[in-house]
Subunit: 329 residues, 2 copies
């Protein structure tokens, strides 16, 4: 059996003694604002472009540390440093979030990706909670509304699919909304929040999760049926596992035992499905029918896939006490 | 020393006894027209979508075999099979080539990629030469003009870069034009042809090829200077080597000894630069400054990279007699 107290101590030590000091020391761009995120192992900056996802995640992390771990002024100051840069440079005139900026904050890549708006909403909401800044809360709400508005057409004018030929629904949007709504809860009215959660649970468990196989499909037809095409057969095990722990997190709050069991079963079956039996670890992309995936990088082992899996397994063990979760972790 | 007669026999045997029969047997879609291109090793079709690049390359290959290897009616018939499908379904109302179609020929992915037009021009030109079909020649010319028109804005409305912030020139366009002009030569007037070739040689050797290092940069600033960013530092050794044999091919026709030497030197230095000293083979992407590339698949060994390298080495040896080329091959 896992010793959760020892495990928790060990993760906390890694976070406070290693990871946080590294980013405090090397990532702050004191000249132009915002953060350097392309750092080598020694902390040297090897590229200075500012990707909105990463800028936003760092504002979120330091705000979250302040809100949940310890009220260190230094952490709030680092979050504010990124908040100011993003509020000044991150959005176009309509409030859509760019994908990337130059070091100085000039827009480099257009608002072609709705996840920039997701991560911005999370970052500004968490920062508003830490700082009490009303302006940050307003930007968080506006970005959240952007996500809902673009939900059914996330790439907007940059969509390359010809409309109508093969309409697809994307798991990624429903999945991230599960997490986003919880992050935004304190800013939303409770009816709005409950409705969004209902819709997301219905989509994730009724459309994208294949109940028979216990794996999540990245894309389905609008009616939830599977399409025999590269996208229609695509499974991203790390993504599916991540979505399942978002679902556990919701189910835990709702005390919905059945939903917890559904999510933890899917985690175990997705790990089975995605596991590399020769070398260990979880593969990046797989074809649901065992055909060759289109992505060249399909057989790589990505850090984030394994981080999400550790979260899902720990959470699954805490919620169910099933020994196989501790064993897998 | 390589025995070129034996080498040539061996490649020819592989082509006529193995590769061509495989595609003749398994790739023809007799129901909907066009070709299946997602074939497993046994020849079974695992996906039926029709990607314009691959449809066009197959029309080109079978037309070329007919034109250059042997006047087999069967090969011309296979080329015609793809030509008919593409002429009926491949273009939008303005004559721009889609990126992908469904099995039935419905447009799936918009004309977001100018290389579709390049490969279409090559396919239809080669097919027109084989068949004498005037309609095919007209489509080839129209597609060629599309490429020239879109040369400075190849992604059109699908461009995600914000205009003006960091303008980049792409090696890929100049490189493919070197090859495309030779393919189209019989349809172009000789002044047009010579001018295009001059421009491409000037761009490839004066802008993208770094003379000091002997490697090709994928992107430069409009003035040819290097930009310190992921794209600006990007080297694709296989792409550079391919461009250098296009250049040798031109230089050979022009009997330009200096240009031949420039190209063969660049091939050797690019192989040096891209070589995986631990496992052998040529890496897919590298950063010119030795920083981490952005592409997850950077350290993969791709078949086409090694095929282009074999072409470049054989051609380099034929043109210079330098033993190191035969040794490398």
């Amino acid at each position: 059996m896992l010793d959760f107290t020892e495990l928790s101590r060990s993760y906390r030590r890694a976070l406070t003694d290693d990871i946080i000091p590294f980013w405090e020391r090397h990532s702050i761009d004191t000249t132009c604002g915002g953060y350097f995120t392309c750092l080598d192992r020694s902390g040297a900056v090897y590229d200075t472009d500012k990707f909105i996802w990463l800028q936003c995640r760092q504002v979120w992390v330091f705000s979250m540390l302040y809100n949940r771990l310890e009220r260190q002024e230094r952490w709030l100051e680092i979050a504010r440093h990124g908040f100011r840069f993003l509020a000044a440079h991150g959005m176009d005139a309509e409030g859509n979030w760019y994908f990337a900026l130059t070091r100085e904050g000039d827009p480099l890549i257009q608002p072609c990706n709705v996840f920039s708006d997701c991560f911005a909403a999370m970052a500004f909401s968490q920062y508003a909670l830490a700082s009490g800044d009303r302006g940050a809360a307003e930007i968080a709400l506006k970005s959240y509304k952007n996500v809902l508005r673009r939900k059914n057409n996330p790439k907007g004018i940059y969509t390359k699919a010809v409309p109508g030929t093969r309409p697809l629904r994307s798991f990624a949007i429903s999945m991230i909304l599960l997490n986003l709504v919880l992050e935004m809860e304190w800013l939303l009215d409770s009816k709005e929040c409950a409705d969004q959660i209902d819709t997301c649970i219905r989509d994730v468990t009724g459309v994208f999760l294949d109940r028979t196989r216990g794996i999540v499909y990245e894309y389905t037809a609008p009616d939830g049926s599977h399409i025999d095409s590269y996208d229609g057969r695509l499974v991203n095990p790390g993504h599916g596992i991540e979505g399942m722990w978002f679902l556990m997190d919701i189910a835990r709050r709702m005390q919905d035992r059945q939903l917890i069991d559904l999510a933890v079963d899917a985690v175990m079956r997705t790990i089975e499905f995605g596991w590399d039996r020769e070398h260990g670890g979880i593969l990046y992309f797989l074809d649901a029918e065992g055909k060759p995936p289109q992505q060249l990088e399909w057989d790589q082992k990505l850090w984030w896939v394994h981080a999400e899996t550790l979260v899902a397994l720990s959470m699954g063990y805490l919620l169910t006490g099933r020994e196989e979760f501790a064993h897998r972790a």
